[in-house]
């Protein structure tokens, strides 16, 4: 179960799809639906129960409406990832390498892309969605519905304003992951290099 992808899916869902069942969710998705491309920095904190301090990694990301996601890890090690219609790919010396479609990963990938294409049914079936706050400062809580998901994690919390700010994943085993999206901006189009990365 890839929680990050799951939460990014939610993000994308909110960005563009019709969550028709509640007025405020609709409002939120309208708010997030505007930008075509979001550039930003991220800090990922992995809190492992047995470690005194979290594993912290940093990098940048690009979320493009019709292309997918680039996740560029910079420290403590450098590694680029890409999710698009083809699957999850990792970049090595020879370019993008598509990772083998493992059952769970591929399912996440499918879900993510389904959401990108505006198919909201999957997420709503899997999660209870609860929204609080206002357009400037909101918080969305996802609680898994299915038994299988409940065995994996307790909750996903997403906070934001104009754009998403943090995503927090609470696993049942006691570990948690916090993703902080910083300096997100929706003003820049895709660079040539980014377009090339998505196209390859």
């Amino acid at each position: 179960m890839n929680v990050l992808v799951k939460s990014l899916s939610v993000l994308a869902l909110l960005t563009m799809s019709a969550l028709a069942n509640a007025f405020d969710l609709q409002q939120l998705s309208a708010q997030l639906a505007k930008p075509d491309v979001i550039h930003g920095q991220f800090i990922q904190e992995k809190h492992l129960r047995a470690l005194p301090q979290p594993l912290i990694s940093k990098g940048s990301f690009v979320l493009a409406k019709n292309h997918g996601l680039l996740w560029l890890l910079k420290t403590p090690l450098q590694q680029d990832y890409r999710i698009n219609a083809k699957g999850i790919a990792r970049r090595d010396d020879n370019g993008w390498q598509l990772l083998p479609n493992k059952s769970a990963g591929a399912e996440q990938n499918r879900l993510f892309l389904a959401v990108l294409q505006g198919d909201s049914s999957g997420l709503q079936r899997d999660f209870e969605l609860a929204l609080s706050g206002d357009a400037q400062q909101w918080k969305l809580t996802l609680t898994p519905r299915s038994l299988l998901l409940k065995q994996v994690f307790n909750q996903i919390n997403i906070d934001g304003g104009a754009l998403v700010q943090t995503i927090e994943l609470l696993e049942t085993q006691g570990d948690s992951t916090v993703l902080r999206m910083q300096d997100s901006n929706a003003s820049q189009p895709l660079s040539d290099a980014e377009q090339h990365d998505f196209a390859e």
Partner: protein, 779 residues
Amino acid sequence: MTLPSERRLPWLFLILLLAVVALAGWQWRDGAPLSANLMELVPGTHPDALEQRAEQRMQEPLNREMLVLVGHADRQQAVAMAQTLGEQWQASGLFEKVQWNLQADLPALRTQLLQGRLAMLSADDRQLLIEHPDVFIQQRVQALFDPFNGFTLVPSQDDWLGLTGRIQNSQPQHGSVQLDIGSGALIADADGKSWVLLRARTTGNAFDMNLPLQVAALLGASREQAAKSDVQLLAASGLLYAANGQQQATREMTWVGGGATVGILLLLLLAFRRWRVLLAFVPVLVGMLFGAVACVALFGHMHVMTLVLGSSLIGVAVDYPLHYLSKSWSLTPWRSWPALRLTLSGLTLSLITSAIGYLALAWTPFPALTQIAVFSAAGLLGAYLSAVCLLPALLKNVELRPAQWPLHLAERMIALREKLLERVRTPVLLALLIAFCVGGLVQLQSKNDIRQWVGAPQQLTDEAQAIARITGYQPTSQFFLVRADNQQQLLERQAALSERLEQLVNLDKLQGYLALDQLVSPPNQQEQVRAALNKLPQYWQPLLDLGVPLAALQSELQQLQTVPAEDIDAALAGPLGEPYRTLWLGPTEDGVAAMTSLQGLNNPALLRVQALDLPGVMLVDRLGELNEVFAATQISAAELKLASCALIVLVLMLPFGLGGALRIVALPLLAALCSLASLGWLGQPLTLFSLFGLLLVTAISVDYAILMREQVGGAAVSLLGTLLAAVTTWLSFGLLAVSSTPAVSNFGLSVSLGLAFSFMLAPWAGRHEHTATVAEPAA
């Protein structure tokens, strides 16, 4: 004029009949003792006990499980329908287990992964750990940061070295079916639809008589229900083939049996113009009864195919009463007992020769034919006895005044033949016939395939193919059987085989395979892993740099040193062992054995090569072997045919002398040759079944030659008797040709051809010098 013995005979026979009816009643006390198991019909290729056990193990799921895909463009709707159907099916009581979602037992999975850290590590990961421990650690560090690494079942603090994650990721992918995290359903996407996998395991197997029909009916109802919500169902199961086979057998039995019955009754009425003559059908019914009782008594049950082929007995059994009924054209007035007396020797000869012909079938290695032979021989005996003992009494006061048109027809045919012979003499005709035979025989092609036994409808095979395409599950009937002295050797041998199969997979010659060595490694390799782990402290600095406490790593290492070596049984016990369980055959007489199953094979010949120089490994290819047996049996069938002819010659020598006997037997043989040639001219393949059909026709048509040679009542009357016998026989066998089971239809075609030629050639049987005069004193 009735002899005293003829007064007692009917009563004696009725007592016998009563006994047989009672026996039948007892045999049917628990319902029909019928079987539809195709494998019972095909020859045993005498595999050893282990091979047989392996085969049963591999076939069991085919005969008990049903695989259904529930498809809709909307995934959620597909899942909902799968759930609804799953619940309905579970409640139907037909299934032992219905599964539409995966109830993953995560704690059990965690335990197995932790326990199997040494034993279940894949070959690649093992190699990396042993040869490049630094890279091994580096990859672990990377994985800890990797946001897309996927969810690992075992939390990091229980497995800092990441062994369980590696095991989890190296589990072979089965087809293109994926787990839907939300619902737990197994789903494949194809053709713009989401297909939810629904698996059901029945309480009995495909060869229980009622179960397949019930399952097929349930599936039919579910299809309709699903269609209302626009949901499409695709289903595959041996059960559906069995249900179809049963329905088809019933349908064909009705057509063949009913058609033959109606035709024969009509013929009797038209020819003899008396309602009472319909009693001639009594021997047929008695014959069927005797056949069924003998079959169940000998084999414990009767196969549906025996019934289909056996229903052709109707036409042969009715020949016995026809023998003396047809004497009504020459005997005036006709009386039953004298007519019988006159034809008794011919009847008896006919019974003996036909029985020899049928019983010759019993010596072929085909259980199907053995059953048919027993059914038919017993049936003929029953028909003969009732024709001889009972029927004359029933027809005692009937005076037959048969229609004259059949006689005129026969006379005209004889005249025609005479005219022909005036212009073209027999040797010339024979030469022409032989030319025809040679011309046909060179075009004759032999074809044998087990698939001829199954008349699988297009829809079933289409759906099975669609399921294979969508899910990627393409089970093949071939598999490898691997034997070894102990588990260590077994796993090594399977690994050696896997290495070769992997090459085939890479060449796209094979889609995949499943073997125990993919799940668990042999004990010595587990020790190698243990030793390699002991060297890790030199390389694990990067993990310490992340902040992983040294004590935690050390205690984990210590724990790994005490993890016991895992054997096959232990590995199979956990949830990850589930798909592998059927493969393990366990201890055998001389060691242990397991199987390697295959997916999506497109070249069986390649497989055979794989096993050639691997000790203890053999390919089990039952279909391939069967087809070989078929071909081999063709030769033995021909030999059998000649042997049965020799036997018939011996029997016929008594009344007709050697010359006469040879002549009588030569005619059916020539007829058989002509039929073979006709198959060639018609472009029909020669199959084992056509050969069996001809084997049979030889025996039946010896009868025609005898009739013609005996010439009781003159040539025209004899020809008429022969014609009637041939037409009735053809009515029942010829109808088999319309069967949708290729084997049965082939059988019917060759018998039909054989009968036609036998009838045409019968007048050449010559003329037997009668010592008794034809002029029987009138009653």
